[in-house]
Amino acid sequence: MSRRGRLLLFALGGATLAAVLVIAERGLPSFGDYHGVYGRVVQATEPVLRRATDLVTALNFDLRAFDTVGEEFILFASVAGVALILRRMRDEDDRALASTPQEHRFTGASDALQLLTLALVPTFIALGVYVIIHGALTPGGGFQGGIVLAAGPLAMLLAGRYLALKRLAPVWALESVDAAGAMAYVLIGLGGLVFASSALQNFLPLGTPGQLLSAGTMPLSSIAVGIEVTGAFLLTWTEFLDQALIVERRH
């Protein structure tokens, strides 16, 4: 079918879809009029039962921890897929870049940018660790903090020091970190099976709400997920940047 025919067919189908969506959305309660019970149940029980103050993280790692296991493994599988697809093919080699990794710079970064990167890298890392650990208390948790933490070493890319970044975080290390995070989360779940009656049950002492070591296994799950997300994203970025900057076809 020609392109015009395809677009015309979609115009018809798209208009119908839009109409159906609007009709379906008319059946929803109007914006702001949320009547759901589940949210109120969580609000009533979670701070008392689990001494957690961030309800979103409590849902993520405690009440709906099984969904999080599934999502973690989606993340893991996607990153494994990227690493597999972007592997070095038979007719490819790494480009020969001059001098040692510490000295090599990809051109273009001014001195001001390099200085800024020097300030950014530890800031991101500290902020990322803070957000991960305070998952159960304030907005934050494994997923958010993991990405912020991964953006730290990535800032070295801004200064053109990509090879130094590769030395700091080689692929084998990133793969190990990613796998360790996934395994740690599963082990915490199995700990629930061993020490409490069911898997993923919160089994550590609960403490007082508002303190760092409260809410049982939630900080631990948060750290496990944070480690996995950091490893996953750094691995993905490294694979793509390798393809763009380092890999070339053998001539």
Binding site: L28, S30, G32, G39, V42, A44, P47, L55, N60, T236
Partner: protein, 114 residues
């Protein structure tokens, strides 16, 4: 007027689909997929919103105050992170496909298959 968020979600969904269908470059297809996914985020968060509700964190407000629904936020939160990884997987496929078949045009790739 209170239908506006739902209308925005429906519009983004259809416009994103249009971008996918009309795309001549597979990278563009992946980015339009991002728009389609963001339509679902808008819809979910709009469903869970409550007038006058605060964010679902009871660290410094009384426990029984009026909150927005935390469940939909959990769904959207994990999806934002995982969508980036899945898009990365799709882009890896596009890059390797270009290496092997020499094109990122979906029409040309189909011709090569014949």
């Amino acid at each position: 007027m209170s239908f506006y968020p739902y209308a925005v979600a429906a519009w983004l969904f259809v416009v994103g689909l249009w971008g996918i269908v009309a795309s001549e470059n597979l990278v563009r297809t992946v980015l339009c997929l991002t728009v389609v996914q963001s339509a679902t985020y808008v819809l979910l968060l709009a469903v869970g919103y409550r007038h006058g509700g605060a964010a679902p964190i009871v660290a410094d407000i009384p426990v029984h105050s009026r909150l927005v629904d935390p469940t939909v936020q959990v769904l959207v939160l994990t999806d934002v992170v995982i969508e980036a990884t899945v898009s990365a997987l799709l882009l890896a496929l596009v890059v390797q496909g270009h290496k092997r078949f020499g094109s990122v045009d979906p029409q040309q790739l189909r011709a090569l298959h014949d």
